[in-house]
Symmetry: C2
Subunit: 160 residues, 2 copies
């Protein structure tokens, strides 16, 4: 398989093993995006208006943690590229140790923690993973542990 | 205080006690919003295209769990209306037991679990809470436990 084929391939449960690590592409978040997300989903003063935000403990506008979580999902999905997608089962230990600010360039490192075949849905496997999101100074802006359901190859045959 | 005053008032740490419950307003999510959120943050087949989604285990388009989380934040923020906002410290036990589908009308019930003054930031208190998000059939579409930092009244005087 050539490099292009590798980059484009769809991933199945069997393609992963515990300890695997993946680095995503990057996503640069603008002040306009921060304000637009906050207006729709998290209308709080430190996310909405730079002048007001300067008066807060953050001393400037910061992104909603849910915006960081959404950007993290985008980077994760594009990097892992699971066949038929990854179905989120749950998330724990979602933390935001540093604020995201306008112009920050975010990147996600995914670590596969463990893998098992699903009992209730044997066509799929359950993947436990950790996602760590960092900014351009390598400061951690988000950590989380997640479980997701991903498709298995059936009898060694890749389904399409 | 009249009803209007109650509805508009900003809430402080001291206004809450463990066991308090709050019901939010409602938010009806459209297929267009589901697809638009997914294109930006969670580009997976069961969130993006109704025809493709019909072939999946969901038998139709469903919303991203991160979209549900974002809508939940909006409903929570508007209902609790904390003075100077609530600063998210972390989230655990985020689960999506039922899918969100186009036209679903979501509502959040918040339960205050416990409260303590912040050690590192004595101007604030730490509130632990649970948010349960339901649809118009009263099915649970999301549960979560969260901690947030909210402003205290200083010496009984409401800061502005």
């Amino acid at each position: 398989m050539n490099v292009r084929g590798l980059a484009m391939k769809q991933r199945y449960f069997e393609d992963l093993k515990a300890g695997d690590r993946f680095n995503s592409g990057t996503y640069t978040v603008t002040e306009e995006q921060i304000v637009s997300f906050a207006r729709e989903f998290d209308p709080q003063p430190f996310h909405l208006d730079a002048a007001v935000a300067r008066q807060t403990m953050f001393e400037g506008i910061i992104g909603s943690g849910w915006h960081t979580a959404a950007i993290t999902m985008r980077l994760f999905v594009q990097t892992l590229n699971f066949a038929e997608g990854a179905i989120g089962l749950g998330v724990d230990e979602l933390r935001w140790p540093n604020a995201v600010r306008p112009g920050d360039r975010l990147q996600v490192e995914t670590e596969i923690v463990d893998l098992r075949v699903s009992r209730s849905k044997p066509s799929h496997g359950v993947v436990r993973l950790r996602n760590v999101t960092t900014n351009q100074r390598n400061e951690i802006v988000q950590t989380m542990a997640a479980s997701a359901l991903v498709l298995r190859r059936i009898d060694g045959i890749t389904r399409r």
